[in-house]
Protein backbone atom coordinates (compact mmCIF):
# COMPACT_ATOMS: atom_id res chain seq x y z
CA UNK A 1 0.00 0.00 0.00
CA UNK A 2 1.53 3.31 -0.92
CA UNK A 3 1.88 5.06 2.32
CA UNK A 4 0.43 8.45 2.95
CA UNK A 5 2.90 11.25 3.20
CA UNK A 6 4.42 12.26 6.48
CA UNK A 7 2.48 15.04 8.14
CA UNK A 8 4.42 18.21 7.57
CA UNK A 9 4.08 19.71 10.99
CA UNK A 10 6.10 22.75 11.84
CA UNK A 11 8.35 23.89 14.68
CA UNK A 12 5.86 22.92 17.36
CA UNK A 13 5.54 19.35 16.19
CA UNK A 14 9.22 18.72 15.59
CA UNK A 15 10.23 20.20 18.91
CA UNK A 16 7.75 17.88 20.58
CA UNK A 17 9.21 14.91 18.71
CA UNK A 18 12.65 15.93 19.89
CA UNK A 19 11.38 16.48 23.41
CA UNK A 20 9.86 13.04 23.51
CA UNK A 21 12.87 11.31 22.00
CA UNK A 22 15.25 13.03 24.39
CA UNK A 23 12.96 12.32 27.34
CA UNK A 24 12.89 8.61 26.59
CA UNK A 25 16.62 8.59 26.00
CA UNK A 26 17.32 10.24 29.30
CA UNK A 27 14.99 7.86 31.07
CA UNK A 28 16.91 4.85 29.88
CA UNK A 29 20.19 6.48 30.64
CA UNK A 30 19.07 7.38 34.14
CA UNK A 31 18.10 3.79 34.71
CA UNK A 32 21.56 2.61 33.72
CA UNK A 33 23.21 5.42 35.60
CA UNK A 34 21.56 4.52 38.89
CA UNK A 35 22.59 0.92 38.40
CA UNK A 36 26.20 1.79 37.77
CA UNK A 37 26.30 4.23 40.63
CA UNK A 38 24.91 1.50 42.83
CA UNK A 39 28.22 -0.24 42.39
CA UNK A 40 29.66 2.10 44.98
CA UNK A 41 27.85 -0.16 47.38
CA UNK A 42 29.63 -3.20 46.02
CA UNK A 43 33.23 -2.08 46.09
CA UNK A 44 35.39 0.90 45.14
CA UNK A 45 37.13 -1.21 42.55
CA UNK A 46 34.09 -2.25 40.62
CA UNK A 47 32.81 1.33 40.68
CA UNK A 48 36.08 2.66 39.39
CA UNK A 49 36.16 0.04 36.63
CA UNK A 50 32.77 1.12 35.40
CA UNK A 51 33.60 4.77 35.72
CA UNK A 52 36.71 4.09 33.72
CA UNK A 53 34.53 3.18 30.77
CA UNK A 54 32.91 6.59 31.11
CA UNK A 55 36.29 7.97 30.36
CA UNK A 56 36.83 6.13 27.07
CA UNK A 57 36.44 8.35 24.01
CA UNK A 58 33.36 6.58 22.76
CA UNK A 59 31.44 6.87 26.00
CA UNK A 60 32.79 10.34 26.47
CA UNK A 61 31.27 11.30 23.13
CA UNK A 62 28.03 9.69 24.15
CA UNK A 63 28.22 11.72 27.29
CA UNK A 64 28.37 14.84 25.18
CA UNK A 65 25.36 13.60 23.30
CA UNK A 66 23.54 12.94 26.54
CA UNK A 67 24.31 16.42 27.74
CA UNK A 68 22.92 17.70 24.47
CA UNK A 69 19.76 15.70 24.98
CA UNK A 70 19.29 16.77 28.59
CA UNK A 71 20.00 20.36 27.78
CA UNK A 72 17.52 20.42 24.94
CA UNK A 73 14.90 18.62 26.98
CA UNK A 74 15.44 20.97 29.87
CA UNK A 75 15.32 24.18 27.83
CA UNK A 76 12.40 23.05 25.74
CA UNK A 77 10.70 21.85 28.90
CA UNK A 78 10.94 25.40 30.19
CA UNK A 79 9.43 26.59 26.91
CA UNK A 80 6.53 24.17 27.30
CA UNK A 81 5.99 25.41 30.82
CA UNK A 82 5.95 28.97 29.53
CA UNK A 83 3.38 28.00 26.92
CA UNK A 84 1.30 26.43 29.66
CA UNK A 85 1.35 29.18 32.21
CA UNK A 86 2.10 32.41 30.39
CA UNK A 87 -0.82 33.84 28.49
CA UNK A 88 1.41 35.14 25.72
CA UNK A 89 3.28 31.85 25.56
CA UNK A 90 1.30 30.15 22.81
CA UNK A 91 1.68 33.13 20.52
CA UNK A 92 5.42 33.32 21.09
CA UNK A 93 6.12 29.61 21.01
CA UNK A 94 8.13 29.75 17.81
CA UNK A 95 10.30 32.59 18.98
CA UNK A 96 10.82 30.76 22.25
CA UNK A 97 11.79 27.63 20.39
CA UNK A 98 14.39 29.47 18.37
CA UNK A 99 15.68 31.02 21.58
CA UNK A 100 15.91 27.54 23.08
CA UNK A 101 17.84 26.34 20.07
CA UNK A 102 20.12 29.37 20.24
CA UNK A 103 20.88 28.95 23.91
CA UNK A 104 21.32 25.27 23.40
CA UNK A 105 23.88 25.80 20.62
CA UNK A 106 25.80 28.30 22.70
CA UNK A 107 25.84 26.08 25.78
CA UNK A 108 26.78 23.01 23.81
CA UNK A 109 29.62 24.89 22.15
CA UNK A 110 30.73 26.07 25.56
CA UNK A 111 30.56 22.54 26.94
CA UNK A 112 32.45 21.07 24.02
CA UNK A 113 35.92 21.42 25.43
CA UNK A 114 35.23 20.87 29.13
CA UNK A 115 33.31 17.66 28.55
CA UNK A 116 35.49 16.25 25.82
CA UNK A 117 38.76 17.58 27.25
CA UNK A 118 39.69 14.14 28.44
CA UNK A 119 39.16 12.56 25.04
CA UNK A 120 40.73 15.40 23.15
CA UNK A 121 43.77 15.19 25.33
CA UNK A 122 44.10 11.48 24.91
CA UNK A 123 43.74 11.81 21.14
CA UNK A 124 45.73 14.87 20.34
CA UNK A 125 47.99 15.11 23.35
CA UNK A 126 48.80 18.32 25.13
Amino acid sequence: MPAGTLYRGREGMWSWVAHRVTGVLIFFFLFAHVLDTALVRVSPESYDTVIATYKTPLVNLMEYGLTAAILFHALNGLRVIAVDFWSRGPRLQKQMLWTVVGVWVVLMAGAFYPILEHTLLSWFGK
Binding site: P2, G4, T5, Y7, R8, M13, W16, P90
Partner: protein
Protein backbone atom coordinates in the same frame (compact mmCIF):
# COMPACT_ATOMS: atom_id res chain seq x y z
CA UNK B 1 -14.87 62.71 -0.26
CA UNK B 2 -11.49 61.98 -1.69
CA UNK B 3 -11.11 60.07 -4.90
CA UNK B 4 -8.80 57.32 -3.84
CA UNK B 5 -9.05 54.87 -6.63
CA UNK B 6 -7.28 56.39 -9.56
CA UNK B 7 -4.07 57.50 -7.94
CA UNK B 8 -3.99 55.06 -5.07
CA UNK B 9 -3.62 51.91 -7.12
CA UNK B 10 -1.32 49.52 -5.36
CA UNK B 11 0.59 46.82 -7.18
CA UNK B 12 -1.48 44.18 -5.40
CA UNK B 13 -4.70 45.68 -6.70
CA UNK B 14 -3.29 45.92 -10.21
CA UNK B 15 -2.27 42.29 -10.01
CA UNK B 16 -5.69 41.29 -8.72
CA UNK B 17 -7.41 43.08 -11.57
CA UNK B 18 -5.57 41.75 -14.60
CA UNK B 19 -8.21 40.52 -16.97
CA UNK B 20 -6.41 37.93 -19.07
CA UNK B 21 -4.94 35.09 -17.08
CA UNK B 22 -1.79 33.12 -17.61
CA UNK B 23 -2.41 29.42 -17.21
CA UNK B 24 0.18 27.08 -15.82
CA UNK B 25 0.36 23.31 -15.90
CA UNK B 26 -0.08 21.73 -12.53
CA UNK B 27 0.03 18.12 -11.46
CA UNK B 28 -2.28 16.95 -8.73
CA UNK B 29 -1.06 13.79 -7.05
CA UNK B 30 -4.12 12.43 -5.31
CA UNK B 31 -4.28 9.48 -2.97
CA UNK B 32 -7.27 7.61 -4.32
CA UNK B 33 -9.06 4.91 -2.43
CA UNK B 34 -12.17 3.10 -3.48
CA UNK B 35 -12.73 -0.17 -1.70
CA UNK B 36 -15.36 -1.15 -4.25
CA UNK B 37 -12.57 -1.46 -6.78
CA UNK B 38 -9.26 -1.92 -5.04
CA UNK B 39 -8.59 -2.87 -1.45
CA UNK B 40 -5.62 -0.53 -1.25
CA UNK B 41 -5.18 3.16 -1.87
CA UNK B 42 -3.19 4.35 -4.86
CA UNK B 43 -1.55 7.62 -5.81
CA UNK B 44 -2.83 8.96 -9.10
CA UNK B 45 -1.45 11.94 -11.04
CA UNK B 46 -3.65 14.39 -12.94
CA UNK B 47 -2.32 17.14 -15.15
CA UNK B 48 -4.30 20.27 -15.77
CA UNK B 49 -4.05 23.83 -16.94
CA UNK B 50 -4.90 26.21 -14.15
CA UNK B 51 -4.81 29.86 -13.31
CA UNK B 52 -2.46 29.92 -10.30
CA UNK B 53 -4.82 32.29 -8.53
CA UNK B 54 -7.53 29.66 -8.47
CA UNK B 55 -8.22 27.45 -5.48
CA UNK B 56 -7.10 23.87 -5.05
CA UNK B 57 -10.81 23.06 -4.88
CA UNK B 58 -11.18 24.49 -8.39
CA UNK B 59 -8.46 22.11 -9.51
CA UNK B 60 -10.22 19.15 -7.90
CA UNK B 61 -13.46 20.22 -9.55
CA UNK B 62 -11.70 20.43 -12.87
CA UNK B 63 -10.40 16.91 -12.47
CA UNK B 64 -13.82 15.63 -11.48
CA UNK B 65 -15.69 17.47 -14.18
CA UNK B 66 -13.31 17.03 -17.07
CA UNK B 67 -11.10 14.04 -16.41
CA UNK B 68 -12.32 11.60 -13.83
CA UNK B 69 -15.85 11.76 -12.48
CA UNK B 70 -15.13 9.10 -9.90
CA UNK B 71 -12.94 11.41 -7.84
CA UNK B 72 -14.82 11.97 -4.61
CA UNK B 73 -14.55 14.67 -1.99
CA UNK B 74 -16.84 16.86 0.06
CA UNK B 75 -17.37 20.53 -0.72
CA UNK B 76 -20.07 23.09 -0.48
CA UNK B 77 -19.50 26.79 0.11
CA UNK B 78 -16.15 27.09 -1.72
CA UNK B 79 -14.98 29.95 0.44
CA UNK B 80 -13.87 28.48 3.72
CA UNK B 81 -17.03 28.82 5.73
CA UNK B 82 -18.75 25.44 5.78
CA UNK B 83 -15.84 23.22 6.77
CA UNK B 84 -16.47 20.46 4.24
CA UNK B 85 -13.17 20.13 2.48
CA UNK B 86 -10.39 19.73 5.00
CA UNK B 87 -7.71 17.59 3.39
CA UNK B 88 -3.98 17.08 3.49
CA UNK B 89 -2.39 19.22 0.79
CA UNK B 90 1.36 18.87 0.43
CA UNK B 91 1.41 17.11 3.76
CA UNK B 92 -0.52 19.72 5.73
CA UNK B 93 -4.17 20.02 6.65
CA UNK B 94 -5.95 22.79 4.81
CA UNK B 95 -9.27 23.64 3.27
CA UNK B 96 -9.01 23.06 -0.46
CA UNK B 97 -11.23 26.08 -1.07
CA UNK B 98 -9.06 28.39 0.99
CA UNK B 99 -5.78 27.37 -0.55
CA UNK B 100 -4.68 29.05 -3.74
CA UNK B 101 -2.66 27.01 -6.18
CA UNK B 102 0.11 29.58 -6.30
CA UNK B 103 0.65 29.12 -2.57
CA UNK B 104 1.34 25.40 -2.65
CA UNK B 105 4.38 25.30 -4.85
CA UNK B 106 2.69 24.32 -8.13
CA UNK B 107 5.99 23.67 -9.93
CA UNK B 108 6.06 20.37 -8.06
CA UNK B 109 3.22 17.86 -8.05
CA UNK B 110 0.70 18.90 -5.41
CA UNK B 111 -0.04 15.95 -3.16
CA UNK B 112 -3.57 15.64 -1.88
CA UNK B 113 -4.79 13.01 0.56
CA UNK B 114 -7.46 12.52 3.16
CA UNK B 115 -7.03 13.89 6.65
CA UNK B 116 -5.35 11.54 9.09
CA UNK B 117 -6.74 9.64 12.04
CA UNK B 118 -10.31 9.21 10.78
CA UNK B 119 -11.29 6.19 8.74
CA UNK B 120 -11.05 6.86 5.02
CA UNK B 121 -14.23 5.76 3.27
CA UNK B 122 -13.51 6.82 -0.28
CA UNK B 123 -10.83 9.03 -1.80
CA UNK B 124 -10.81 12.18 0.31
CA UNK B 125 -13.92 11.35 2.31
CA UNK B 126 -13.45 10.24 5.90
CA UNK B 127 -15.87 9.05 8.54
CA UNK B 128 -16.72 12.15 10.55
CA UNK B 129 -18.81 10.42 13.20
CA UNK B 130 -16.07 9.98 15.82
CA UNK B 131 -15.21 13.64 15.37
CA UNK B 132 -18.76 14.79 15.97
CA UNK B 133 -19.10 12.32 18.82
CA UNK B 134 -16.25 14.00 20.65
CA UNK B 135 -17.89 17.35 19.97
CA UNK B 136 -21.18 16.17 21.41
CA UNK B 137 -19.41 14.73 24.44
CA UNK B 138 -18.40 18.17 25.71
CA UNK B 139 -22.00 19.41 25.90
CA UNK B 140 -21.67 22.13 23.30
CA UNK B 141 -24.71 24.21 24.21
CA UNK B 142 -25.55 26.98 26.59
CA UNK B 143 -26.45 25.69 30.03
CA UNK B 144 -28.35 28.02 32.32
CA UNK B 145 -30.57 27.68 35.33
CA UNK B 146 -33.46 29.66 36.68
CA UNK B 147 -36.14 31.47 34.76
CA UNK B 148 -35.40 32.83 31.33
CA UNK B 149 -35.20 36.60 31.28
CA UNK B 150 -37.83 38.37 29.20
CA UNK B 151 -35.25 40.30 27.22
CA UNK B 152 -31.75 39.25 26.22
CA UNK B 153 -29.18 38.30 28.83
CA UNK B 154 -26.78 41.15 29.26
CA UNK B 155 -23.16 40.60 28.43
CA UNK B 156 -20.50 43.27 28.30
CA UNK B 157 -18.46 43.70 25.17
CA UNK B 158 -15.39 42.49 27.10
CA UNK B 159 -17.15 39.36 28.30
CA UNK B 160 -18.22 38.75 24.72
CA UNK B 161 -14.68 39.23 23.52
CA UNK B 162 -13.40 36.69 26.05
CA UNK B 163 -14.54 33.73 23.95
CA UNK B 164 -14.77 35.36 20.54
CA UNK B 165 -11.91 33.40 19.06
CA UNK B 166 -13.43 30.00 19.67
CA UNK B 167 -16.87 30.94 18.32
CA UNK B 168 -15.33 30.98 14.86
CA UNK B 169 -14.98 27.21 14.65
CA UNK B 170 -16.57 25.60 11.59
CA UNK B 171 -16.01 22.01 12.72
CA UNK B 172 -13.84 21.21 9.74
CA UNK B 173 -11.66 18.75 11.71
CA UNK B 174 -8.44 20.15 10.27
CA UNK B 175 -7.12 20.60 13.78
CA UNK B 176 -8.14 17.30 15.31
CA UNK B 177 -6.85 15.33 12.37
CA UNK B 178 -3.51 17.14 12.50
CA UNK B 179 -2.93 16.26 16.12
CA UNK B 180 -0.29 13.57 16.65
CA UNK B 181 -1.99 12.47 19.84
CA UNK B 182 -5.28 11.98 18.01
CA UNK B 183 -3.63 9.93 15.25
CA UNK B 184 -2.41 7.48 17.84
CA UNK B 185 -5.69 6.13 19.00
CA UNK B 186 -8.56 8.46 18.18
CA UNK B 187 -9.64 8.41 21.82
CA UNK B 188 -8.39 11.87 22.66
CA UNK B 189 -11.22 14.40 22.53
CA UNK B 190 -9.12 16.40 20.13
CA UNK B 191 -8.62 20.12 19.78
CA UNK B 192 -11.94 20.84 18.04
CA UNK B 193 -13.98 19.48 20.92
CA UNK B 194 -11.89 21.45 23.39
CA UNK B 195 -12.28 24.60 21.32
CA UNK B 196 -16.04 24.19 21.45
CA UNK B 197 -15.96 23.51 25.18
CA UNK B 198 -13.85 26.63 25.60
CA UNK B 199 -16.47 28.62 23.73
CA UNK B 200 -18.95 27.86 26.50
CA UNK B 201 -16.68 27.63 29.51
CA UNK B 202 -15.65 31.25 29.02
CA UNK B 203 -19.10 32.53 28.08
CA UNK B 204 -20.25 34.68 30.98
CA UNK B 205 -23.87 33.57 30.43
CA UNK B 206 -23.13 29.88 30.81
CA UNK B 207 -23.39 27.88 34.01
CA UNK B 208 -22.17 24.50 32.86
CA UNK B 209 -18.47 25.19 32.96
CA UNK B 210 -17.82 22.88 35.92
CA UNK B 211 -19.42 19.95 34.17
CA UNK B 212 -17.53 20.53 30.95
CA UNK B 213 -14.26 20.93 32.80
CA UNK B 214 -14.92 17.68 34.59
CA UNK B 215 -15.40 15.95 31.26
CA UNK B 216 -12.18 17.38 29.92
CA UNK B 217 -10.35 16.50 33.13
CA UNK B 218 -10.68 12.94 32.01
CA UNK B 219 -8.05 10.53 30.81
CA UNK B 220 -8.72 11.40 27.20
CA UNK B 221 -9.27 15.06 27.90
CA UNK B 222 -7.10 18.15 27.75
CA UNK B 223 -4.22 16.58 29.60
CA UNK B 224 -3.36 14.49 26.58
CA UNK B 225 -2.47 17.58 24.59
CA UNK B 226 1.30 17.78 24.17
CA UNK B 227 1.33 21.36 22.85
CA UNK B 228 2.52 20.37 19.40
CA UNK B 229 0.72 23.32 17.82
CA UNK B 230 -0.24 21.39 14.69
CA UNK B 231 -3.84 22.29 15.43
CA UNK B 232 -3.16 26.01 15.62
CA UNK B 233 -1.20 25.88 12.38
CA UNK B 234 -3.92 23.93 10.64
CA UNK B 235 -6.96 25.92 11.70
CA UNK B 236 -8.35 27.67 8.62
CA UNK B 237 -10.24 30.11 10.79
CA UNK B 238 -7.08 31.27 12.47
CA UNK B 239 -8.27 30.20 15.89
CA UNK B 240 -5.47 30.07 18.43
CA UNK B 241 -6.36 26.52 19.28
CA UNK B 242 -3.44 25.68 21.52
CA UNK B 243 -4.00 28.87 23.46
CA UNK B 244 -7.61 27.89 24.03
CA UNK B 245 -6.52 24.46 25.21
CA UNK B 246 -4.03 25.99 27.62
CA UNK B 247 -6.73 28.26 28.97
CA UNK B 248 -8.91 25.26 29.64
CA UNK B 249 -6.03 23.52 31.38
CA UNK B 250 -5.40 26.54 33.54
CA UNK B 251 -9.09 26.84 34.33
CA UNK B 252 -9.00 23.23 35.51
CA UNK B 253 -6.06 23.93 37.77
CA UNK B 254 -7.31 27.18 39.21
CA UNK B 255 -11.05 26.58 38.81
CA UNK B 256 -11.39 30.13 37.65
CA UNK B 257 -13.17 30.93 34.42
Amino acid sequence: MSTPTVEKHSAALDAAEVGGVKLITVTLRIRRFNPEELPDPVWVDYQLEMDPKERVLDALNKVKWEQDGTLTYRRSCAHGICGSDAMRINGRNRLACKTLIKDVNPEQPITIEAIKGLTVLKDLIVDMDPFFQAYKDVMPFLITSGNEPTRERLQTAEDRERFDDTTKCILCAACTSSCPVFWNDGQYFGPAAIVNAHRFIFDSRDEGAEQRLEILNDREGVWRCRTTFNCSEACPRGIEVTKAIQEVKRALVTRRF
